[in-house]
C-alpha cells in the first residue's frame, strides 16, 4: 500500500476507526450487560434502605437479604409513595421529594406518622453538596433530629436546637441546611395532598 494513495489517506482511516469503535463498544457493552443485574439490585437496595430509614424502621446495614425481607414485610408501594406498618399496628407514610440544594437538586425520602403530625425520619437519596460541609446532611446525627418532631421546622445554629420544631444546622453549610429545611417543610405542607391521590 503506497503511503499517500487514495486508499491510505481516505478509506483506511475510516475502516480503522470503525473497527476500533466496534471493538471498544463491544467490550463496554459486554461489561455493562454482565454487571447490569448487580447495578440494578444495588440501586433497589439503596432505595429500600432509604425508605426504611425514613420510616424509622431499623435494619442491618450490610445484610442484603435481611433488608429485602424487612422491606417486603413492612412496606407496601403505592402510587408515588410508600406505606409502612410501624410498631403496634400504626401506619406510616413515606414520600419522595426533590428540591434545590446549594449546588444541585437534593432528593429525599420523608417519613410521616399515621396522622401526619410527626415525622418518623428523613433520608437522603442524592445530592451534590460539598464533601465535608454540605454533604454532612447525610450524617445520622443530623437526619435523626427530625425523628419524632413535627414541622414546619426551623433550622438553627449547630448545638442550639431546643424547641420541638428546631433542628441543629451544620456549621459551615448554612445554605445547604436551610435548603434541606425548606424541602422538608414543603414536604410537610404538601403531604396530605400527595397521600390523597392513589390511596
Amino acid at each position: 500500500m503506497k503511503k499517500d494513495s487514495f486508499f491510505a489517506l481516505r478509506i483506511f482511516p475510516l475502516i480503522f476507526m470503525a473497527a476500533v469503535t466496534i471493538v471498544c463498544i463491544s467490550v463496554v457493552t459486554g461489561i455493562f450487560l454482565s454487571t447490569e443485574d448487580r447495578v440494578r439490585s444495588n440501586e433497589q437496595l439503596f432505595l429500600r434502605k432509604a425508605v426504611l430509614a425514613a420510616a424509622g424502621i431499623s435494619f442491618p446495614d450490610d445484610d442484603f437479604t435481611e433488608v429485602e425481607r424487612i422491606f417486603e414485610e413492612r412496606i407496601s408501594v403505592r402510587n408515588g409513595w410508600y406505606a409502612a406498618s410501624l410498631a403496634d399496628g400504626v401506619q406510616g407514610f413515606i414520600l419522595p421529594i426533590t428540591g434545590a440544594g446549594l449546588w444541585g437538586p437534593i432528593e429525599m425520602m420523608l417519613g410521616f406518622s399515621e396522622d401526619l403530625d410527626a415525622m418518623t425520619g428523613i433520608s437522603i437519596l442524592s445530592h451534590n453538596e460539598t464533601p465535608g460541609l454540605g454533604a454532612r446532611i447525610e450524617e445520622p446525627w443530623f437526619l435523626e433530629q427530625f425523628r419524632g418532631k413535627s414541622g414546619p421546622f426551623e433550622m438553627v445554629q449547630e448545638g442550639t436546637a431546643q424547641a420541638d420544631n428546631e433542628i441543629d444546622g451544620i456549621t459551615g453549610a448554612t445554605r445547604t441546611t436551610v435548603a434541606v429545611g425548606e424541602i422538608v417543610n414543603r414536604g410537610v405542607s404538601s403531604a396530605p395532598d400527595i397521600l390523597k391521590r392513589g390511596e
Binding site: 476507526m17 469503535t21 467490550v27 463496554v28 461489561i31 440501586e43 460539598t130 464533601p131 465535608g132
Partner: protein, 200 residues
C-alpha cells in the same frame, strides 16, 4: 529492553517530569477530588488503571493507527477504559461511585492520559509504554493523596473518615471547598520546586 531505560522511564514521572507539579497537567481533577482521602484514592486508582492500559493498547496499535485519526483512536481507547472503571465502581462500590459522581467519567478528559498517549505511547514499545503509564499514574496519585491528606485533616479533622483531631480543633472549612485545593496545590508546588527540584 535495556534495564537502565526501564528504570529511567519509571522514575521520570515520579520526580523530574511529574505530570502534576512539573507539567501542571490534570489540575482540574487535582482540585476537584482531593477533599476526602478515600475518594481521592479511588479516583487515582481509576486514573492509574486508565493511563497504564491506554498507553499499552495505543502502543500496540501505534504502527497501524493512521496519523490523521490518531487522536480519535486515542480518545476512543481512553474512554473505553474509563467507562470500564465507571461500570465496575457502580456495580461493586456503589457508595464510592455515588460520591465521586461525574468525576470518574471526567477521567476521559484528563490531559495527562492523552498527553502520555501522544508523547510516549505512539513512539515506544508496549512494554515501556505500560511502565510509563503506570508510573505516570503513580506520580499523579501520590501528589493527589498528599494534598487530600492535608485538606481532609485541616478541613474536617479526619483522616480517611476517622476523627484524629480532638474537639479543640476548629475545622478550616475553606480547606474542603474548592479554594482550599488551590492553596494546597500551590503550597505543594512551591515546596517541591523550591526545595527538591531546583530550577536550572
Amino acid at each position: 529492553m535495556a534495564k537502565g531505560q526501564v528504570k529511567k522511564t519509571f522514575l521520570k514521572p515520579l520526580g523530574k517530569e511529574n505530570p502534576v507539579f512539573v507539567q501542571i497537567l490534570g489540575i482540574c481533577s487535582t482540585l476537584a477530588v482531593t477533599n476526602k482521602l478515600e475518594n481521592t484514592f479511588v479516583m487515582t486508582l481509576g486514573v492509574m488503571f486508565t493511563t497504564t492500559l491506554s498507553n499499552f493498547t495505543l502502543s500496540l496499535l501505534r504502527n497501524y493507527i493512521p496519523s490523521r485519526i490518531r487522536m480519535m483512536v486515542e480518545t476512543m481507547v481512553i474512554a473505553t477504559y474509563v467507562i470500564i472503571v465507571d461500570i465496575v465502581l457502580r456495580a461493586y462500590y456503589p457508595d464510592i461511585w455515588r460520591q465521586l459522581g461525574p468525576y470518574v467519567g471526567l477521567i476521559i478528559t484528563n490531559c495527562i492520559i492523552m498527553g502520555r498517549a501522544e508523547a510516549f505511547a505512539l513512539n515506544n514499545t508496549p512494554g515501556l509504554s505500560l511502565i510509563d503509564g503506570l508510573s505516570t499514574g503513580i506520580g499523579y496519585a501520590y501528589v493527589l493523596l498528599v494534598i487530600a491528606f492535608f485538606r481532609e485533616l485541616l478541613g474536617t479533622g479526619q483522616i480517611w473518615g476517622i476523627q484524629v483531631l480532638g474537639s479543640w480543633w476548629t475545622n478550616w472549612s475553606i480547606m474542603v471547598m474548592p479554594p482550599g485545593a488551590f492553596f494546597m496545590l500551590a503550597i505543594f508546588i512551591w515546596i517541591v520546586k523550591g526545595a527538591v527540584i531546583k530550577e536550572q
